[in-house]
């Protein structure tokens, strides 16, 4: 097993997703334009992948494919978060596909392939897998970002995303090469073993530089300041459902990989070791990145007039919060946060996408004026998601944030917690600004009613139930995470 370790169950979700993706793609080629069929098929594939992931629940912690992938509770949990995000994205895209007359098969296939990359990123136990998974995600999302081809904004978004993404990939790759040079391996478990002992001066320098490069690459993927610069432009220009996808599932995957690489491979061991030496630095750097992300994200969001850009900056800010959890090395908190964030952010974007109509015409916050009581089925859920993003108690956003802050305080980062709570207050300002516009401002012209599709309603129900369920009765999910934590591959070293 260990020699080759071909274990198809270990990549079950990825296999299911890939097969579904190929199937959808082929169906599109032979009988194009069947949105419902393709959509149901894609959704079924995602559900099936979820089942496949759940089947791994009790497996953990084991590795497979020559220790390329790992099977543990967190992989399963993050996989489920990613699948949920992808599923909701399919719902969110429903109307968009019709309006833009996009061949649904290719679109769904790209989403599914992207999801494969994400689940692989979560599962990866080798820098090579991580690199390939990351590239799979980014290449799929480059295409998605440019999907509205006749729209210059979309193309520009794709171009910027591509150039900056490839640029940061180069850093990541250089980092991987240097880490390989420092430790003679690309396998994370092996690397962890190597760095848990002392290394020579040259290797230490290589290790440091490699880790720094990796930090840059990951920082880019999870949109932390100062590697966030692409986010607002890309989020604004990409078609709204794609933005929704971009801001959730890949980020969850990114954070999972971030955790695997930094807090598991280079943990602060507390004993004399290369890992410990490195840890003190990456902790400092990530602290700085976290603070910068929280402050920049929240402050700049205040000045935004476009709701997608505002949510982009909010997403940067949330990345800052999650980094607090990464620093606290609380996997469960990060996982839960990403679950919650995925739900509430997708909920938000679902409404934004619907309201934006064809061609993303209505995306200025000012254009939400008067939405409040004219279409309460749009405005109230949006208000709830925004309130949840702001972290008001009673919603999932609060529980998630509270957990992060609590863990961070316990792990000895009180200053981050204080900055975090204060920045939360700042965030209230811009989240509630949308509420102000919706409810307290009168529209300049007659506000049309937007028809609600069934898929949209489904997405709303899922997201709303999620926001309140996780906000009020999270114990069950906590129990799951608790199991996952116990299944975490500590034995990886």
């Amino acid at each position: 097993m260990e020699s080759l370790g071909i274990n198809y169950r270990a990549i079950g979700p990825e296999l299911v997703l890939t097969v579904t993706g190929v199937l959808v793609m082929l169906l599109e080629a032979f009988s194009p334009g069947k949105k419902v069929r393709d959509g149901i098929l894609a959704a079924a594939g995602i559900v099936l992948a979820g089942v496949a992931a759940l089947a791994l629940w009790e497996e953990g912690p084991v590795t497979a494919f020559s220790r390329m992938v790992i099977v543990d509770g967190f992989r399963v949990f993050f996989t489920l978060v990613i699948l949920l995000g992808t599923l909701l994205t399919i719902f969110v895209s429903w109307g968009f596909l019709d309006e833009e007359r996009i061949p649904p098969g290719e679109y769904f296939a790209l989403l599914l392939f992207g999801a494969v990359g994400m689940t692989l990123l979560v599962a990866g136990n080798d820098l090579m897998i991580l690199f390939l998974a990351l590239e799979t995600i980014t290449i799929a999302t480059y295409v998605l970002a440019g999907y509205r081809r006749e729209d210059l904004r979309s193309t520009e978004s794709a171009l910027k995303y591509f150039l900056l993404g490839a640029f940061s990939s180069a850093f990541l790759l250089y980092g991987i090469a240097l880490l390989y040079g420092a430790t003679r391996t690309t396998n994370l478990a092996e690397m962890a073993r190597v760095v848990s002992g002392p290394l020579g001066q040259a290797e230490i320098v290589l290790l440091m530089a490699g880790a720094a490069m990796l930090l840059i690459g990951f920082g880019f993927k999870v949109t932390t300041v100062p590697f966030h610069v692409w986010t607002p432009d890309v989020y604004e220009g990409a078609p709204t459902p794609v933005t929704a996808f971009l801001s959730t599932a890949p980020k969850a995957a990114g954070f999972a990989a971030f955790l695997r690489v930094f807090s598991l491979t280079f943990p602060p061991l507390g004993i004399e070791s290369a890992a410990d030496q490195l840890a003190s630095h990456w902790v400092a750097a990530v602290t700085a990145m976290s603070i910068l992300s929280m402050t920049f994200g929240n402050f700049i969001a205040i000045a935004q007039t476009n709701i997608k850009r505002m949510l982009a900056y909010s997403s940067i800010a949330h990345a800052g919060y999650v980094l607090i959890g990464v620093l606290a090395r609380d996997w469960a908190a990060v996982a839960f946060y990403m679950l919650v964030y995925t739900i509430m952010n997708l909920g938000c974007f679902a409404i934004v996408a619907l309201w934006a109509r064809r061609g993303d015409e209505r995306v200025l916050i000012a254009e939400y004026a008067g939405l409040g009581f004219r279409q309460p089925l749009l405005s109230f859920p949006l208000a709830i998601f925004l309130v949840s993003l702001a972290g008001f108690p009673g919603t999932a956003g609060f529980v998630a944030k509270f957990w992060l802050f609590k863990s961070a305080w316990g792990a000895g980062f009180p200053e981050l917690v204080i900055i975090g709570v204060l920045m939360t207050v700042v965030s209230v300002y811009y989240y509630l600004y949308v509420v102000i516009v919706m409810f307290f401002r009168e529209p300049k012209e007659e506000v049309p009613r937007v028809p609600l599709s069934r898929a949209f309603v489904a997405a709303m129900v899922v997201a709303l139930v999620g926001v309140f369920y996780l906000g009020l009765l999270p114990t069950r999910v906590f129990a799951v995470l608790n199991t996952a934590q116990n299944l975490l591959a500590i034995g990886q070293r």
Partner: protein, 537 residues
């Protein structure tokens, strides 16, 4: 028997809100029906207050009618759904239920847009309000504490006056700055207490029994973490500037709830958390807070005096009145503490009613500027009589509710062990003069004198519905002034225990400091006081 009264009380309004939604969505209820239904639904919690009061045992120690269910578990979330009432919270629950009903009545005509949403928010707000007072778990407390901001925000922002958006944002940001730091303090406290529970009575008991000893610096930080949230809410000078805006711009119901209940959450928080949990820091900062309280009292009164806007005037008068609350709390004598609670209740009712008074006027004239009125006593005699009674309660005329609270606070402050107790008392007592000045001047300008504007000549007097809102409050104001004991008696036990906890902790920890000896005529041993309080019943 399983205890569910408090849950019913807390969540009956939420259920009511859902019911309202169903009534509209499924049955297509009209606005008038919605109003009636909302009123009926708001009577449910008010009605539940009757068994609450009947079953409350003034003699019993600790929280009563406790419900405790494990709620969130794992990862240090030992959060319980843990509610109960004691002497500190009992009356605030009743006050909340009462004022929400009154608010619905008061908004009958004033709210003609989005009637459904208005009542839904109001009922949700009620859940938050009651929840804050009954929660005995820090986490739960914080949830209610924050949750009620959202409906309030909507109430101000949607149904408010011209600058409502500014006011709503200011309100929510101001209060959230305070509560954000409180959240950090809660987390910190949780770890300091061993990282196992958010149970407020347990943590309090740990502090009292010396099992949880904080080092002074930590205690100071935690004290301010909590206090800032509460002081902003109270609001104490100089954190008060959100209040005039919020009060003025809010619709009548919003102002009533703001003044009537929301401000009380600040005082309640100080009583529930700062005093028993951080006795040393309280001791250390009591002087500062008393100074700020005095400033609030005088400053609020003076600024109130010169307001041209009736609502703003009453808003600033709240600053003044709530200064007494902080003063009484910081005095940490039984009389001071009880006075603070009583003052809060009294202020809730009288100021709430005064906002309804302003509402009555602005419904008729669509202005709140004092200069627009004058001579209203002629066309509106009943209104004027009610205005007069409520204004005088605010002036703390003996036999009206305001007096009992202020007098107890003053006596309590004077007999406290604060360093400058006498000076505080004297300065605070000047409010007697200033409050008379601003209130009577207002009465003069609004009710008396010649009728200067033709529109005022034939203003209709308060109608039946308005009487239904104002007269009960006016009667309460008188009853509370003449017969405050039923209220005081039910707070006795909790106050006594609170005081002993504070004193015990301070004495245990600061014995060598040798503060000035208490006057033996006033302060017997704790045991004697206990005996005394037993005898009294």
């Amino acid at each position: 028997m399983k205890e569910h009264l408090l849950s019913w009380l807390t969540f009956a309004p939420t259920a009511g809100a859902l019911l309202l939604l169903f009534a509209r969505v499924l049955m297509g209820a009209r606005e008038e029906t919605i109003r009636r239904l909302a009123l009926a639904l708001s009577l449910v919690p008010l009605g539940l207050c009757v068994p609450l009061l009947l079953r409350f045992d003034p003699m019993a120690s600790g929280p009563q009618m406790v419900e405790r269910v494990p709620w969130i578990r794992f990862f240090g979330f030992n959060v319980d759904y843990f509610v109960g009432v004691d002497g500190l919270s009992l009356w605030f629950v009743v006050l909340s239920a009462l004022l929400v009903t009154i608010s619905i009545l008061a908004s009958w005509r004033a709210i003609d847009q989005h009637v459904l949403a208005f009542h839904v928010f109001l009922l949700l707000l009620e859940t938050g309000l009651i929840g804050v007072f009954v929660a005995l778990d820090l986490f739960l407390f914080f949830i209610f504490w924050e949750v009620m901001l959202v409906p309030m925000y909507f109430l101000i922002g949607i149904w408010g006056y011209e600058r409502r958006v500014y006011a709503a944002v200011k309100f929510i940001i101001y209060t959230m700055v305070g509560s954000a730091l409180m959240l950090a303090a809660i987390i910190s406290l949780y770890y300091l207490n061993g990282g196992t529970t958010f149970d407020i009575p347990a943590i309090t008991e740990n502090v009292r029994a010396g099992r949880l000893v904080l080092d002074p610096a930590t205690e100071r930080w935690l004290f301010w973490g909590f206090a800032l949230a509460f002081l902003i809410k109270v609001p104490l000078f100089p954190f008060h500037t959100w209040l005039p805006d919020a009060h003025v711009e809010a619709p009548t119901a919003g102002s009533v709830i703001l003044a009537g209940v929301l401000l009380k959450m600040g005082g309640y928080g100080l009583l529930r958390f700062n005093l028993p949990l951080f006795p040393q820091a309280t001791e250390e900062f009591a002087g500062l807070l008393c100074g700020l309280a005095i400033l609030s009292i005088i400053y609020g009164a003076l600024v109130s005096m010169v307001q041209p806007d009736l609502k703003k005037l009453i808003a600033y008068s709240s600053v003044s009145h709530m200064g007494f609350v902080v003063l009484g709390i910081m005095a940490r004598t039984e009389m001071g503490l009880q006075g603070a609670i009583f003052q809060m209740l009294s202020h809730g009712i009288s100021t709430g009613a005064l906002f309804i008074i302003v509402g009555v006027l602005s419904e008729r004239r669509h202005t709140r500027w004092i200069a627009e009125f004058g001579g209203l006593a002629r066309p509106m005699p009943v209104f004027s009589a009610l205005f007069g009674i409520l204004a005088l309660a605010s002036v703390a005329l003996p036999t009206l509710s305001g007096f009992v609270g202020e007098f107890l606070v003053l006596v309590g402050t004077y007999t406290s062990e604060l360093a400058h107790a006498r000076a505080y008392t004297v300065l605070a007592a000047t409010a007697m003069i200033f409050s008379a000045a601003y209130m009577l001047w207002t009465l003069e300008r609004v009710l008396f004198g010649e009728i200067t504007r033709e529109e005022n000549r034939h203003l209709p007097d308060v109608n039946g519905r308005e009487r239904l809102t104002l007269i009960p409050l006016a009667v309460l104001v008188i009853v509370m002034g003449v017969l405050p004991n039923p209220i005081l008696r039910r707070t006795d036990r909790a106050i006594l225990e609170l005081k002993q906890a504070v004193r015990g902790a301070v004495l245990v920890q600061s014995e060598p400091l040798g503060r000035r000896a208490p006057n033996p005529a006033l302060f017997g041993s704790a045991a004697r006081e206990q005996a005394e309080s037993m005898r009294r019943r």
